[in-house]
Symmetry: C2
């Protein structure tokens, strides 16, 4: 049962008068529960509790933190259909996706729990003393990693579980020893409250200090701004729009003590389709990409929004086929009316630019929050002349650029902003041209993919989900995979420290 | 022979009309050479050359970059007395220090050269494919680290060699594959030009691309501002004042594409002197600390500016003895008249606060740019009431806080801003109280030292030279030690990439 209240530490709290409701996009009507926006007093209480909890939480063993993470996973699973029903009612996403995303969320929590069972994740190093060194003796110096302090996590709209209340940011921050305050997403506050209740149950069962987790709701910018400006908050995680992420980055940079903001923002994920693929594998490529472009109604940060090709008759045929196959896939519901509005208006920005042709678009009457999948095309020279075509159209939309030759195709890559991913589809005969293309992509992206699709982000050690701005605000870190824990820690050295007083992993 | 010109890549250049001269602080008069401030055209040319050089430099082998770094070290040594004489004439520092710092500089270059001979520094990881995994096959994903792009390094005033033109920032950035543009320090532009000439010679001898290094001069903020705002600059390294570092941080955060600034700024480096040390080892501690406080005329970022004690008769005796021993050390020259002015005015800010007593201060006539070493003292309660006492007095100055008990001593630590180091001097009988003190220090510093002095920063894997703001602008990184290379790189993943096209370290 959800209450519409905030969790300030372990306590449900609703001191304010401002409320909001979530929307069922499939039914295009509001869900019943009113969610109470946290007051400034509640925000402050949550941060003060987190700061107090930090003093205890950072010093407990990795085994205890791992038990906490595993207990969160258990409590999420125990919510069973109550959670998946709520998820579907607030997102318009189907049951299979709800179950899959729950599996990913639970899997991430358990992966971070496994990671912290040993101290290896701290990258501990030991330089032993050399008392006889000339001209000065060398001290014994040992380095470890320690958590930064209370972390604020902004839940993402497009992953109500896996990048939300108990998603990758929360799991990695809790694993590192940082308390977490989640700013719940206003579009799925019910899902958020259910997951928060699971985290609080897990915290109580495993004896975690009160304040290790809070869940704050609010539909505007007031609550998020107050959280990021609070002096006792030490880092921020965010997944969402460039405008939202940049606003938080600016707030954090303007503080008396600036703090790191890890914002994973916009990306149109260029896909280079080499000529021999269009020659040899046009149809299977069109099938694969029609599916990737419409997967999850295109609402993935790694959705392929830009296809780069060399112009020609076969390319025209390929684009027509891709458009037909994309349009033939039944339209699906988007997350929320706001997301649908953005899809329509950003799509219009791109398709109204000179030289852009709509090759295929879902026509006719569809449900209000469902998406008209669209494939558009433009020449390389028109694209190069007009940065408005770089606009991200969040949803099932892809713009195909037809460059006149490989030189112009590389120019198109060079003209792009930072991206999460770059993909190359190539046959053996294309290999001689790949190093130049890979080199150009490397300057722009965090991950390159060969003969695959950018959608689907594996949670593993070698994953990089981040890239040059504005794909993320700090390309030196990843938001997905075990490396995500590095965002919340700093190096710390002990010099000549008595062995009996060193932490376990440094003895 | 120095020319007063900029190096724009391999070319000496002096297109502007604005010049400045350096000062010999011992003689208190200007040195002869006029240095030409770079014009905006020269700044732009240096960045454009660096951007072009990056395309080549990032792809050459580690062995080639190591040869370049070792050649820089060789060319610096080949400058012989010309360099150390110039160093002394621009810094007032003695010959032994000049030679020692040259040794450190050369050692750092060679240490980074050794580091990049293998690909281990990239923290490469491989997750192999699992084609049979259900419900989806797992891709082959491999992660490496790649350089960010052109880096601007601001030379530090207090280390004309080791944190300057070819210092730790430059060595680590060049090692990572980033071209470097140094903003030379206006107080030691001659030393900077000599070292720059060595780097350019080394670049030419080892076949590096033109633009891999430039050396830009200028005495105000114009040149530095232009460099940090240039869209093709991708990261900044800085060592200096809080005001200077914060100004650069703000400029970088306000860019359309924000870039990381690693600024190592202010620190007063608290030293906790436990009661049993004052009881058992008062005199030897006073000898050690009088020496540490005055070392290099106190002009180290790790200088012990704040001693924390528990009040008592023995403590009073210790402070008097420390003051006598400090004052007895012959006054030494400071780096520059501006540094001397700052030492005097910041010293007056601290000593003029209510409750602060000057226990000992060098009196009488001394040379104009020499420093009056000072030991002051204040009660814990007066210190807690007045944040002006946290002011860094850059030079041979230390404020002793006499807390009424251990609780108040921990409160004093809790009241501090971020610091580079924290030191604890303790006897076995003090050990039961150490965990509380270490815990308080851990929240505030990057390195804790037991029964030693904070001055002296070892270049090794386990060193952390950085700390919470304002000790540094990003506590997640270190400015000294091999870890410093991590400031200039980002993770990059290859998914299902053909083995023959992978870089060496990932095959």
């Amino acid at each position: 049962m959800i209450t519409g209240k905030n969790y300030i530490g372990n306590q449900l709290s609703a001191k304010g008068a401002t409320t909001h409701k979530t929307v069922n996009p499939k039914l295009n009507k509001e869900n019943p529960t009113a969610f109470f926006q946290a007051t400034s007093e509640e925000v402050n209480d949550a941060v003060e509790l987190a700061d107090q909890a930090f003093k205890v939480y950072r010093n407990i063993s990795g085994k205890q933190r791992a038990d906490f993470l595993n207990a969160i996973a258990d409590e999420i699973l125990a919510l069973d259909n109550e959670l998946t029903d709520m998820y579907m009612s607030e997102s318009g996403l189907p049951e299979g996706r709800a179950q899959g995303e729950r599996g990913r969320t639970v899997g991430q929590l358990r992966a971070f729990a496994d990671l912290i069972l040993t101290e290896n994740w701290r990258s501990n190093t030991i330089d032993e003393a050399i008392p006889t060194r000339q001209p000065f003796p060398k001290s014994d110096i040992r380095k470890t990693s320690i958590p930064l302090g209370p972390v604020v996590v902004f839940a993402a709209s497009n992953f109500p579980l896996a990048f939300s209340t108990a998603g990758g940011d929360t799991a990695s921050a809790l694993a590192s020893g940082c308390p977490v305050i989640v700013k719940s997403h206003a579009m799925h506050s019910g899902t958020g409250e259910l997951v928060a209740s699971a985290i609080i149950k897990a915290a109580e069962k495993t004896g975690m200090p009160n304040g290790v987790f809070s869940n704050i709701t609010g539909s505007g910018r007031v609550v998020g701004t107050a959280l990021v400006k609070h002096p006792k908050v030490k880092a921020v995680g965010f997944t969402g729009s460039i405008a939202g992420g940049r606003a938080l980055y600016n707030l954090a940079a303007e503080r008396e003590e600036p703090i790191p903001v890890f914002a994973e923002m916009g990306s149109i994920n260029p896909v280079v389709v080499m000529p021999n693929v269009i020659k040899n594998k046009a149809e299977e490529t069109a099938v694969t990409y029609a599916s990737s472009i419409t997967l999850g109604t295109g609402q993935f940060c790694t959705n392929p929004g830009l296809l780069l090709t060399i112009a020609g008759e076969k390319t025209d045929d390929f684009v027509k086929d891709l458009a037909e196959k994309t349009v033939a896939i039944a339209p699906q519901c988007m997350l929320h009316p706001n997301i649908k509005d953005g899809f329509v208006s950003n799509g219009e920005i791109v398709t109204s630019q000179p030289g852009v042709e709509i090759v295929g678009k879902v026509e006719g009457n569809i449900e209000p929050n469902f998406a008209e999948s669209t494939i558009a095309a433009v020449s390389g020279s028109d694209f190069l002349a007009n940065p408005k075509m770089h606009t991200e159209v969040f949803g099932p939309f892809s713009l195909v650029v037809k460059a006149k030759d490989q030189g112009e195709l590389v120019e198109v890559i060079d003209s792009l902003e930072g991206q999460l991913t770059g993909t190359v589809l190539a046959e053996k005969e294309d290999f001689t041209n790949l190093p130049t293309i890979a080199d150009a992509l490397q300057s722009k992206v965090g991950r390159i993919i060969f003969n695959g699709v950018p959608t689907g982000v594996e949670v593993c050690e070698s994953m990089t989900h981040g890239g040059p701005y504005p794909a993320s605000s700090d390309s030196r870190f990843t938001a997905v995979g075990l490396g995500a824990i590095k965002r919340w820690i700093r190096p710390f050295s002990y010099q000549d420290w008595p062995v009996e007083l060193l932490p376990e992993g440094l003895k």
